[in-house]
Structure formats: C-alpha cells, structure tokens
Symmetry: C2
Subunit: 211 residues, 2 copies
Amino acid sequence: MTLSPTDRSTIRRAKERAATDRSALYEVLDRNLVCHLGVIVDGAPRVLPTGYAREGDTLYIHGSSGARSLRTGDQVCVTVTELNGIVYARSVFHFSVNYASAVIHGVPETLAGQRKLDALRVLTEHLAPGSWEHARRPNKKELAQTTVLALSLEEAAVKIRTGDPKDEDADLELPTWAGVLPIARSFTKPAPSADLHADFPVPEHVHSRML
Amino acid sequence: MTLSPTDRSTIRRAKERAATDRSALYEVLDRNLVCHLGVIVDGAPRVLPTGYAREGDTLYIHGSSGARSLRTGDQVCVTVTELNGIVYARSVFHFSVNYASAVIHGVPETLAGQRKLDALRVLTEHLAPGSWEHARRPNKKELAQTTVLALSLEEAAVKIRTGDPKDEDADLELPTWAGVLPIARSFTKPAPSADLHADFPVPEHVHSRML
C-alpha cells in the first residue's frame, strides 16, 4: 500500500524527500511520542501538542474531555516530526535539518466502550511500555474525563531528509565547513517520585528504556 | 509584560501549568529549533514543521517561496513543544509527560529587503550559531526563493509541566512504581560532508555545540 492518495497529501515541495511506502509512516509514528493536532476554532487554526499511538492503520489521540480541540467532528491535521540533525552547508541558503515528519488528514471518530478502553491500552503502552499491566487501570469516572479519538491513516504523507548538504558546485572550494551535526534523543536515569518508598526498585519495564 | 491577553490564548485546561511571564515564552522558543505552523488550506487545517527564530517580540518563520502554507495573509497558529520526560503514575489515568509548549496566534507579515535579510541572519544564527559569518550569504536568486514571515508574539500562551506524578491518595500504597523517566536531547559528533576535504577541521562554532 502506498501513501499520498489525495491532492492535499501529495507532497509538492522537495519531492525527493517524500517517502512513498507505508512502513515509513509506521516507523515515524512508532518512534515518536507527541503529535501536533491542528483544528479550526472560531475560524482560526489552532495547533496543540498531544499524545498519540498507532494501531494498524489507525492513529489514537487522547486528551481531557474538556479540551476544545478534541470536541471537533470536523477535519483535523495531525503532524509528527522528529529532528535528527542540523545540516551545515557552504551557503546559508542550503542550510537545512535532517528530519522525518508524518502529516495525516482526516475526520476523527470519538471512541466509546470497549474500543475506547482498548485504545487507552495502546496509548499507554506506546508512551510507557509495560505500564498497562503494572499500573491501576482507569475507573468509570476517569474514563468519562478522557476523550479518545481514532483517525484513519489513509490520507497521510511522510517526508524524510537525511545525509549531507547539497551545495552548489561553485561553492565547494569555499573555506567553509559542511556536514551534519547529529541530534540524539535518549532516556536518562529514572527519578523516583518523592512519595515512593525509598527501597522501591525501578522496574525492568522502566529501567530497560535507558540506553 | 504578561502573557495571555486574549480569549483564545487563555489556557483553560490544566491551568496550573500556565506560565504567565514573558521570559518563559522566550526560553521555550530559544531552546528549540522546529515549530509547527498551522494554517487553513481549502477549509481544512494543515500543520507543517518548519524552522523559526525569535528576535525580541517577533517570531520569524521561513520556507520555500513555493510552499502553500507560507502564502497566507490569514490567521496562523505556531506551536513549539519540547518533551522533557515521561511521567509514570500509580494509575494509568495519571500518566503524563513533562514538557514545555508555546502557542502563538496571529497574522504574519511577509518580509522584504533589508528586514528579510536581517531575519535570515537571525534564523541562521538560531539554527547554527556562528554560521552567518562562516558561510556564503544568500544571493538575489536565493533570496527570491525564500519566504520569511514575521509574527508578533503578542498573543501567546506557554504551558509547562515538571516534576512528579500527581497520584490519588488512595493509590499511594499500590505496588506500582511512580516517577519520571527524563528525556535528554544532545548534539553528537559532527559528521563532515563527503565532499569536504579530509583535513578540514570541525570549526569551533560547530564543535562547541557538542556536550
């Protein structure tokens, strides 16, 4: 299955960066934790960061039931971006970043009942693998305070830039450094909550996320 | 000067996370490199990642002159988010993330002439400090291919979450680990471009960004 089936999810700028296979979309979504949800409120765009998770070709987004950005039955745009490096070129014009981004368009559905609970498990396990078994599950009141949306991944585009700067031939002999400064993201030492018993060990499902 | 002067930039959800002083806005913007620009295209929201930089109370955004998302004279929303940790709670409901985000609303202005060139310097220096002096400046043709927008920071909101999970009292004795798994971001070893002379040293303005 390929990506970009509609006009608005067809990448026009820097087409060589467009990834056309669905696995690239899955990888960008599965590697990251925060999306930017775009909605229209009172005629103006609004972009808010929120948690998400993917299951098959569905993206789950969740938030407080009171959040205005989750009340929509209208079109949304969800974007996930990871920044992987800064690209230094011989000319300012060719400075760039190495990145991967996924942009998804669609009308989300609000989940209820068992589907909502299943989606919350997927969301929890994406944010914090192993936690659905380890922590207390949501009760009725907590479920009511949480909104979970499901958005189809049918209409999506992925852009990826990797590698060296693309300088003009005429600039190659300039006395200017060119290359990539990579950006790494990592989990560091878990910090126990102040209200946790001092001898409570960091469980394996948390500890193992550190490099 | 305080933040949140308008209805839509007033934070409603998790108000205790709202930062009300302008320096918090500056810090979030100055620490990060990529924003998510929200615009309306054909009646639907569109959210695209792009570079930005701040100068005083102005945010500069730049991109290709061909990009549809930069052609607007309409309302935009620009959001910058940094993810600082995963918050493990005793209950799934109280799982969260430590983060800081800035959300800016306004109608951007397209820059030209000296103001455009000045903004490009600020953008370049934000992405890659020291590079405006080190690399070749944009020529006329390159300037024409670049669009630079200026957006006032007047209407902005900042949210910051830090620290431990906020568990229910009734859950405190559950046999469940609680705490924060911090997320660190860092620059790693610069990778010279394949077309750079082998003995070209990594300049100080690049090298010094590594930890």
